[in-house]
């Protein structure tokens, strides 16, 4: 585990589930994230919007350890963990789950096996060969599948699920990890209206016990979530506040409609 950082006396840090301050990263001279600061409280749900190239996915890459920032602080769980020093697996173990834009489930495994691999517990090769991972009770898997309405499909190959079902299965896998923070990238892309509605209420329910960050293009979905919105543009925060306020912001309108 990372040692406690020096800034823990700052209440902005200690009270935050996720704390980003002055984060910058450039790829081959392209400044993807520019002095980005963002704070997510425990059990807060936040929607992040922004045009293509605003740095939404790069921000998630930084939080989950895929990309190292050039500078800035990325702290988790009241400043207890410095995420810039950890790799993906360690960050996942701390309790940060990530849902990809394209639904990413293990297609050749059954629905139940997808959850089996995601459930909390030891993740080393030996635990998986002969140990605990092979003794996970079916009840625990079913409990998770019931929450996302996939219980009847538990034996089905995940690759045979519909697009919306895959999105849910991925959310179920994240829940199985029992994370403190969920990063969800475009959860309703390609979903029907009914599925979108069900997803919104599922995410709201999840946010009662943990922090959720949702990146989304679909404005009606963001409206349905009814949470604080952060608009990113060219790698930094352009506007932050309730959706109506952000949507009325001149700079936001300019960015979305072109200048």
């Amino acid at each position: 585990m990372a040692p406690p950082t020096a800034v823990v006396s700052n209440p902005a840090v200690t009270e935050a589930q996720l704390y980003l301050d002055g984060v910058s990263v450039a790829f081959d001279g392209f400044q993807a994230i520019k002095n980005l600061s963002l704070t997510i409280a425990p059990r807060e749900m936040r929607a992040i919007i922004g045009p293509n190239g605003a740095g939404k996915t790069t921000m998630m890459d930084i939080v989950t350890g895929k990309t190292r920032p050039d500078k800035g602080d990325v702290l988790f769980d009241g400043g207890r963990h410095d995420l810039t020093r950890l790799d993906e697996a360690a960050i996942a173990e701390l309790g940060i789950g990530r849902k990809f834009q394209r639904p990413t489930v293990f297609e050749s495994h059954s629905v139940a096996d997808n959850v089996l691999l995601a459930l909390e517990g030891p993740r080393g090769p030996f635990a998986a060969m002969f140990g605990a991972r092979n003794r996970i009770a079916a009840g625990r898997i079913d409990e998770v599948l019931a929450r996302v309405n996939l219980l009847d499909l538990r034996a089905k190959r995940a690759g045979d699920l519909s697009h919306g079902q895959k999105q849910w299965l991925e959310i179920a896998m994240l829940l199985s990890q029992n994370p403190k923070l969920l990063l969800v990238d475009e959860p309703v892309a390609g979903m029907t209206d009914a599925e979108t509605e069900a997803t919104a209420s599922l995410l709201k329910e999840i946010a009662t016990t943990r922090s959720v960050v949702v990146v989304e293009h679909d404005m009606s979905f963001v409206r349905a979530l009814g949470v604080k919105v952060t608009c990113l543009h060219e790698g930094h925060v352009l506007a932050e506040g309730p959706i109506d306020e952000v949507a009325a912001n001149d700079k936001v309108i300019e960015v979305y409609l072109g200048r």
């Binding site: 996942a92 995601a118 060969m129």
Partner: protein, 380 residues
Amino acid sequence: MIAQRLLAGIDRSGIVFLLVLAAALTLVPALNLLTPDASPVHVPTYVVQLLGKYVCYAILALSLDLVWGYCGILSLGHGAFFALGGYAMGMYLMRQIGARGVYANPDLPDFMVFLNWKQLPWFWHGFQWAGFALPMVLIVPGLLALGFGWLAFRSRVTGVYLSIITQAMTYALLLAFFRNDMGFGGNNGLTDFKDIAGFSVEGQGTRVVLYALSVLVLAGCYVLGRYLVGSAFGKVLVSIRDAESRTRFLGYRVEHYKLAVFVLSACMAGIAGALYVPQVGIINPSEFSPANSIEAVVWVAVGGRGTLIGAALGAVAVNLLKTLLTSGPMAPFWLFVLGAIAIAVTLALPNGLLGLAQSRIGGKPEAVKRKAPLTTRIAE
């Protein structure tokens, strides 16, 4: 208890496979030892030896299938682990010759006397004892796989890049073992073996025992492999093959899994090589040649990847064909035939012979069900 757990995951094709191995284990030695030479059902000793060689190839193919078929690591250098296991056994066999060599030197193998060496190099010490040489059969390939895999997987080298460096690894070893200074007999390798554990390597009984051991080891590797791919470990391997970054973000240390399966696979390949050498009577640097490793990949593709049984089947089928064709007028064209087989399987049989057999019988192939042709999967 342990046996029960190991055997629990074996499906119907697995039972058929083990029954075939049991038949091969009993019938071939019986027909060789108990029938007179003139009998129409007599299996001549050279056939026993040939079959033993195929079975060693089948073990190599199975080991390759574990890393390629299940974890997506296309190793084009698995022949190196096979050859290292073979050299470890070869060194033991060389030391058994004792003073019976051409130069009658009790300590030094002939090639060392020929090179005017005065004493045994340090790394040859201990190989006169089976109790030392046999663990080395596992340890040497295992350590190479550990070092190589640790560097490659930690740096997240994947896909064709990984394949290319595995190829470079075996090629580098090929060049190294060609050098006389390396102390492994250079170009000629190790040969002229006399006996193994006190029995003549040429003896009919020894041949039959080596063959039977090979079949038993193949069965053992299959049962262990089958257990592993059925366990959560195997499921994580497949997850890595299909969606590596998803697996990482779920909290799995992908490099640890790759390393574990790569080392295990290298050890299996090492055993295959060690069983091979006393049966063919020689080990030389050509076993490291990149073409050998690529041929092993073709066996696995022909038999059906991600099935274990298919790999073994493919190794025997392709080598049987090779024996038949290279001993007749088709001999100069063998490599063309092999190439044609590789292309045909890529285009027409993505699940290999086993997939074909299973779909004929009506069962579902348990192999990779993705539709993309083999070539694009290799390119990934």
